[in-house]
Amino acid sequence: MRSKKRRQAQEVKMPRQAKRIRQEGRQNRVAGGGVKDKLIIYKDLHIRAWYSSLLRLGKTPFASAITIAVLAISIALAGSFQLLLINFQQLAGNLETSAPISLFLRENINENRAQILADSLRKNPTIESVQVISKEQGRALFKTFGSFGAAIDMLDENPLPVALEIMPKNTLHDNGQIATLVNTLKQRQEVDYVRMDMEWLQRLQAMMAVAHRLFAVINALLGFAVLFITGNTIRLELNSRQEEIMITKLVGATNSFIATPFVYTGFWIGFFAGVLARIIVALLLVPLSGPVEELSAHYNSNFHLLSLSIAESIKLIFMSALLGMLGSCLVLFNQLQKTNPQ
């Protein structure tokens, strides 16, 4: 056996040496750097890491599923807050436009002229309905204000002006449009005074601002949770594969070669958690949508429960995948420096 091997070795000696020289050339290229070679190596490395990390997750289905479920719940929480905000905003928009505007006309305007004004206002495309309130109707209304209302009977003459009650169209979604309408109404010469209950609207807007702020804070906290959960998962994975990492380093692997599959593991965990979270959010809406539609019908409102749009869903999944990758990078960069082969 020995002499045969010897002979073989000698026979191939010359071409082998030639090959080795060529190969050293290639090794140097690989190590030092033609840009094109490096790019090809990079591409291969990433494609390999991309699917090998996926396969590895599949090898421990139970552990992977638990991690992904925990992440998905955190992300779904963020998603539901967003959903809440979207719907709250829609509701607020509806309420804003469903507040009536009262126009008190000048004293010299009688009911006939008020009728003409009302007819012209009905042509305005941003107005849903106009109702004329005569002096008498006004008086009757006033009386319903309790003991103070009774005071009006002591006066000889009815001091109340003719008024119009205007309902804006509820296609008006923002305050700016309402303000424009109020301004055009003020400019009519028949109009003495325009009143709209703005105070509660402002309160609503303040509440919305608080909700937005709260949403941002909760989102940041949940983002950190996702970061740390993936980071910790990767850290455990690194620990259980110490031996493999040492060996790989000893045969010449760089830190980035070792880190790449772990970064992709973080990516996959985040990605699947994001998809699962989106499904959870969709499922949350199922029991809610029936009662909400019914409620909305009672109030004659055009409020419908909104779900996350496609763009918002993609953003959710993208963010969780990104956080997964960041979480693993965070751990990798301080762990791999420490892991030196002994």
Binding site: K5, Q27, I41, R48, M246, I247, L250, P341
Partner: protein, 218 residues
């Protein structure tokens, strides 16, 4: 090829392990590194692999001063060496093929070239046809040959082996040494740490003996 000059290594708790070690291995030379247990054989090899840095002195590998090698360059330097370990250090959830292919994958070889090289080297160490087995399905001697195949598949100019025959019977040990001689034939430098005196005597190669932190040529 490999040159030690007055190399000292001290561990914080143990104290001096190597005190002024100097030697020179030519290209294509085989040498045994011997000495009693705890003499510092593994430590000396770790200095070459840059798993440890020496406290003073200088090591040259292929004309390169190891003290000047930056940490970020260590992986590229290690690709020029083949390491063989007493406990093989194979990846147990990878097949024989994947284990041997690892250095090539790391160095960025394409699929075809990798397959060709791995087949060729497995053939040479007598493991053709076992590519798809897992390491634990092989005998100790076979696993050691997988370790050797992995060390040499990328044709490194130097092979460093720490007790490569420690777990093997004399016959297998000799067979593995013959493999090293084959590599030596094509210009590879080989340094083997071993305290298998019988084997060392049979093989008649250069012997470097470590004793109380100093090196003696025998």
């Amino acid at each position: 090829m490999l040159k030690f000059e007055n190399v000292c290594k001290r561990y914080p708790l143990t104290g001096d392990v190597l005190r002024g070690v100097s030697f020179h291995l030519q290209r294509g030379e085989i040498a045994f590194l011997t000495g009693h247990s705890g003499a510092g054989k593994s430590t000396l090899l770790k200095l070459i692999a840059l798993m440890e840095r020496c406290n003073s002195g200088e090591i040259w590998l292929d004309g390169q001063k190891l003290s000047h090698v930056k940490d970020s360059q260590i992986p590229y330097l290690r690709r020029k060496m083949g390491f063989i370990f007493q406990d093989y250090k194979l990846l147990h959830d990878h097949t024989i093929f994947q284990n041997v292919a690892l250095p090539l994958v790391i160095a960025g070889y394409g699929h075809q070239e990798t397959t060709r090289k791995v087949r060729a080297i497995l053939d040479k160490v007598g493991l053709a046809g076992k590519e798809h087995k897992l390491p634990l399905a092989l005998s100790g001697g076979e696993q050691q040959r997988v370790g050797i195949a992995r060390a040499v598949v990328n044709k490194p100019p130097i092979i460093i082996a720490d007790e490569p025959t420690g777990n093997l019977d004399p016959e297998l040990s000799e067979e593995i040494m013959r493999l090293f001689e084959d590599f030596q034939q094509v210009g590879v430098t080989v340094l083997v740490a071993s305290h298998d005196i019988a084997l060392i005597e049979r093989m008649r190669h250069r012997v470097l003996k470590l004793e109380r932190g100093q090196l003696f040529s025998v």
